[in-house]
Symmetry: C2
Subunit: 419 residues, 2 copies
């Protein structure tokens, strides 16, 4: 891992969160002595609590090591090479990305185990991928194919690179009716797998799916996911029996941030390299994934889980009606697609944060949030409010810089994202 | 206007939209010969059609000039200094911003007529503002106050700067019950106005409101907005009669992107400098603001209106079921808060775009969109789809670079944003 691209990065007030008048190298932010609660940086600002980040990164490694699985964390969540570095240091197999752009960012930071959990189809994108493979003998890269057309397009790109080009390592993608990408049943997936095996430009290395969006009509997603993962296991068995895989062991990869426990449980003993791909575990949240975590802990008997590391801090700008506070953060600062943020803490004049109870964010605009608070809670103009979010992916992407803080909200680093 | 901060900006593949392997100065993108349809840049990519941008910028100036009003476009929409420069060149009075960060970006690009349509309350933020005022004698800046506490905090900041500091020019903000910021009635607003007038650190220059979110129970927003703007007019009259204003003419500013026609109509003849603040007119959209535009044209008798300038282009990555296409763009690439994007065009192998009819985006994930298409429309893996969006603010902020294109989708420039 090299962090060269960040060595020269100078931050100034044109980056949201950096104090007016500052001009500071990214690596020097840690030594500025800034503190969130003291108001040393303008709000809104996004923070990552280092103790929670560390805990989460190590927690997942322990969870998977016990279950004989590995993780290629989906780094679309943070797109932060410094966080990726931490995940790899703690034992992640590699990373997962969604696009060529994300893959190129990871390459720039020296990451050489990458799953692109999509099927590239554009000529420019595929040619760039093949060029990267041929320029980087150590790059261990996998992408998906879910159709004969996908196999044909990928093969053609290798063909255009001429004799001596490396093959593209592919995973056949299985989906489900009504879902996103992926062959809709095992027969269709098998046909794609055979085509990939037969294509000399490709190397079939395993099977992939994404189970995270399964919404069964009976309201029992865990059972539906288990049944679906069993189908993936069966697809793997069939491909193995036909000797289609060109990697030993073949990879079976599934498992977003909601159901990875079920994935590793159902695929245990398959003989495959079981690879999960959660992105959100590393920051966790106070919304959808906090709810899923409760299920996972109950199902697995683990007695400690992930801890929320991500907060957005804003000021109370106005209290125009009793019990109503308008905050200086909005859709530009936090995700709203999986629920509005939750008010966690209040701090006044640099004092330690007090836990908030009974407060609710009930609406947001581009640059504002609307917080309802009970008469028992004293909130006033100028107060600083710490918000927890739901779905970290759509909060990280609102920030080019998040501040890494210790438990006293001292800023101990700046985390650069590449969205 | 100076664009110095962009002169040295070099773009490479770590910025979404820039081709892999490229390393190009922002100002040189225009001479690269790239074309969207030919697949010269990786998708997804966001484009602004220059002819429409030009049309919209000039259209609004003509519309307001006829009605004796000016515009300080809300640049939170684009946060693109190159677009701001165009708006100012075409006659905009200045710009509106939402935060200190946005104001500092505008200052970096030499803009010296700025309305901050919020009440700064943090000590760091207010001190930075006063420092900027004192360092920049030509800066004509206004911010809001909506409470006695706001008046006190702003006054204290000027006090901290010591004798000889410039005053902060303020506008008293009027809101409405159930709304966002702003005093809830004219009596409360008058109290704030008197306090601002009495504060030697402040200079009361006018009245402000934002009417864009009024949602009347009877479903007749235009009438509710007109009634509310009349209250603003009455507040202005009362303040003027009390000789509270310290600017001649005083400013009355209102008017987002939905109801600016009503604002200028109701305030005509007030004697104030009427200032609207639409942000979205400059790109327009194919969603909420397209709908509002129809009302405005019908109400004003104007026979031509704004034209959509903003599109996000993506590829068809997979057609896993009949009539279903999964596109390579998602919540990371377009706004979803005011409705999902609309499929406008399809292009195959570099051919001219064909208009799409009967297609619909019905869901989106972080990196994917789900498009339904009828059997009469031939869509296949690899096709390029041009999407129109609803609510430009939440699409612009997904891109650090948007491509400026001519009507043939040749890339004639790169537009840098500062979110």
């Amino acid at each position: 891992m090299h962090l060269h691209p960040l060595d020269d990065l100078v931050l100034d007030e044109t980056t949201k969160g950096i104090p007016p008048g500052a001009s500071v190298r990214l690596h020097d932010v840690a030594s500025m002595g800034w503190n969130i609660l003291r108001g040393d940086v303008p709000l809104p600002a996004a923070i990552i609590r280092e103790s929670a980040l560390d805990h989460n990164s190590r927690w997942m490694q322990r969870f998977l090591a016990k279950r004989n699985a590995v993780i290629a964390p989906h780094v679309k969540t943070t797109m932060c090479p410094q966080i990726m570095q931490r995940q790899l240091r703690d034992g992640a197999w590699g990373v997962t990305v969604a696009t060529l752009h994300q893959m190129k960012v990871c390459r720039r930071f020296g990451i050489d185990h990458i799953v692109l959990a999509n099927q590239l189809v554009g000529r420019l994108e595929l040619d760039a991928l093949v060029a990267e493979l041929n320029a980087s003998p150590d790059l261990d890269f996998y992408m998906l194919v879910d159709s004969l057309e996908g196999v044909r397009l990928a093969s053609a790109a290798v063909g255009r690179a001429g004799p001596g080009s490396r093959q593209i390592q592919v995973l056949v993608e299985r989906g489900y009716p009504g879902g996103r990408t992926g062959s809709r049943n095992n027969d269709m997936a098998l046909e794609v797998a055979r085509a990939a095996r037969a294509a000399p430009q490709l190397r079939l290395c395993g099977v992939e799916t994404f189970e995270g969006l399964i919404k069964p009509k009976d309201g029992r997603p865990a059972q539906a996911v288990a049944d679906f993962v069993d189908e993936i296991g069966a697809l793997y068995e069939t491909c193995a029996a036909e000797n289609l895989f060109e990697r030993a062991p073949p990879i079976v990869t599934a498992g977003g941030s909601s159901f990875y426990d079920i994935v590793v449980d159902r695929l245990a003993g398959s003989g495959a390299q079981v690879m999960t791909r959660s992105g959100c575990y590393v920051s966790h949240d106070t919304g959808v994934y906090e709810a899923e975590q409760k299920r996972i802990l109950a199902a697995t008997g683990e007695n400690e889980g992930l801890i929320n590391a991500l907060e957005v801090w804003a000021r109370v700008q106005s209290c125009p009606e009793p019990g109503l506070a308008i905050l200086t953060a909005g859709k530009r600062d936090f995700g709203t697609d999986s629920g509005l943020p939750v008010p966690l803490f209040v701090s006044r004049d640099g004092a330690s944060p007090q836990a908030l109870t009974g407060c609710e964010i009930f609406a947001s605009n581009d640059q504002h949030a609307y917080m309802r608070f009970p008469a028992t809670v004293l909130v006033t103009v100028g107060d600083q409010i710490g918000l927890g979010v739901s779905h970290p992916c759509t909060t990280f992407d609102k920030w080019q810089i998040l501040f890494l803080v210790n438990d006293a909200y001292d800023i101990v680093g700046a985390l650069k994202t590449y969205f």
